[in-house]
């Protein structure tokens, strides 16, 4: 289903086995407007992982998210204004009412074994009709990369077109 760039093929080619990984993380919203719960993390996996797409179990376009990877640390949300604007969740994760309930990333993201994604959420503002989210789950669709060939992929390896 997914479109693989040459970059992704080069990563996949470094592993003999690619296993499905579906990682669901509770966000922990309590229903308070504009609340910012503590950041949540993806589960640590003992193999390298390639993250492809995300889904949420609620529909609320005013929920915001900020993502960074931990080890290595890359900021995905790049706005470097004095007051950075977080990104609406609908630009990251799909919902069941959409054509793609699992919304693919613009490019799959490679994370080394034991690495994690850190996600900071902001709940929606007060709304007389539709209350801010309570609970909330975010699910990542990914591939576990096992049986590495020559040590597998790493950021320092380089890439040949």
């Amino acid at each position: 289903m997914y479109f693989f760039t040459k970059y992704v093929y080069q990563i996949l080619d470094r592993y003999m086995t690619h296993l499905e990984l579906i990682d669901t993380i509770p966000i922990g919203f309590t229903g308070v407007a504009s609340e910012r719960p503590a950041p949540v993390f993806t589960n640590q996996i003992s193999e390298d992982v390639l993250y492809f797409a995300a889904a949420i179990d609620f529909l609320n376009p005013a929920v915001l998210i900020r993502i960074r990877s931990v080890s290595p640390q890359y900021e995905w949300m790049s706005n470097d204004d004095p007051l950075p604007q977080d990104t609406p969740i609908n630009a990251i994760a799909g919902f069941t009412s959409q054509v793609m309930p699992i919304l693919p990333l613009v490019q799959p993201f490679f994370l080394k074994a034991q690495g994690r994604l850190q996600m900071s959420f902001t709940n929606s503002p007060a709304n007389a009709v539709n209350a801010p989210v309570v609970g909330g789950l975010l699910t990542w669709r990914a591939l576990r990369l096992t049986n590495a060939i020559s040590g597998g992929w790493d950021y320092s390896l380089g890439f040949t077109a």
Partner: protein, 335 residues
């Protein structure tokens, strides 16, 4: 790629839908192939636009801060984040994007000078306080835009709509792309097929918006097409060849099926529509998966040529004021 007999190789990857995966164009792949580290990149900005009753369209400009790394921008999204507002307010927003260092604009310089935001962005928001899940919250650009490190994009915003329909609009605009490090961009890249070698930066997203109807006052946005009336308008000629990929109209099918249109390439004296065709038969709209509805095949509009649009209002009511049609594509200029 000199005439219509050759294929537009890079245009084989057309469509604004993010779909199951944002298929990259050969141009995007060829640039990204020069970097060893590619990380998802999101740039979001909150904006609030307002327009008083009877006032002319407001103008607002902001810029992106320069980054220390190259970026490849692939998609865009807009979200009406205020639950007290309605997603249809997004219909009133128009934008132009300019790369400040080169002065290259994404919007055609015509009487509007902006393009409709939903011809660029997938959208989400609220209606009557309830969240609305549009089928496709992200749209893919007609071509990836390469933003070299240390350079900036400028965003010119306006509410191109009549008063009363657009009070205050709060929204977050998001660009989606790839943060490129561990390499540097080449001056030239090679594309497959007969496109050959082209300069990086020579393919720029192109949006051209024209109004439907006649100007009824000195207010820039007061275009009206009366019932039974017909109007002819032109997309302006460009100084470069244009690959036209798709078309967008800021009307929904219940308003636009009885609007029939006829398109002609004036330079070639070739019509696209032997008879008039209903607008939704070849022009997309905001609730589609692919709002900038792709043409059967990208059309090469030669530099200096212009397209003519003849619109006929077959309904019994005037067409909604400030109705516009936007063509999307790629501007092909090598400097």
């Amino acid at each position: 790629m000199s005439d219509y007999r050759t294929s537009i190789v890079t245009g084989d990857f057309v469509g604004s839908a993010w779909n199951a995966s944002p298929t990259w164009t050969p141009y995007a792949e060829a640039i990204a192939s020069n970097y060893t580290i590619q990380v998802p990149w999101y740039w979001s900005t909150f904006e609030s636009l307002s327009r008083a009753s009877g006032a002319p369209p407001p103008r607002f400009t902001n810029t992106m801060r320069p980054f220390l790394y190259d970026v490849l921008i692939v998609g865009a999204s807009i979200t009406a984040v205020n639950p007290a507002q309605t997603i249809t307010f997004l219909d009133n927003i128009y934008l132009n994007i300019t790369h400040r260092e080169t002065g290259l604009r994404w919007a055609t310089a015509n009487e509007i000078g902006y393009f409709h935001i939903l011809s660029l962005c997938g959208s989400d928001g609220f209606f009557g306080g309830f969240p609305v899940g549009r089928p496709m919250p992200i749209m893919r650009l007609p071509e990836a835009f390469f933003l070299p490190k240390g350079t900036q994009l400028q965003f010119d915003w306006t509410l191109y709509a009549p008063p009363l329909q657009a009070p205050v609009i709060d929204f977050i605009f998001t660009l989606i792309g790839i943060h490129l490090t561990g390499g540097s961009a080449p001056d030239f890249i090679t594309l497959p097929g007969d496109a050959g070698s082209i300069r990086v930066g020579s393919r720029v997203p192109w949006f051209s918006t024209i109004p439907i109807g006649d100007l009824t006052s000195s207010n820039q946005s007061s275009f009206v097409l009366q019932p039974g009336a017909e109007v002819t308008r032109f997309w302006p000629p460009e100084d470069c060849n244009i690959e036209i990929h798709g078309a967008y109209i800021n009307l929904l099918p219940n308003n636009s099926t009885l609007i029939t249109m006829k398109l002609t390439d004036m330079g070639e004296q070739k019509f696209w529509t032997p008879s008039r065709s209903p607008a939704p038969s070849f022009i997309g709209y905001e609730t589609m998966v692919d709002p900038a509805f792709p043409l059967t095949k990208p059309y090469l509009l030669k530099h200096g040529h212009r397209l003519r649009l003849v619109s006929l209002n077959n309904t019994t009511a005037p067409l909604a004021p400030a109705s516009t049609v936007t063509l999307t594509g790629v501007r092909r200029c090598q400097f």
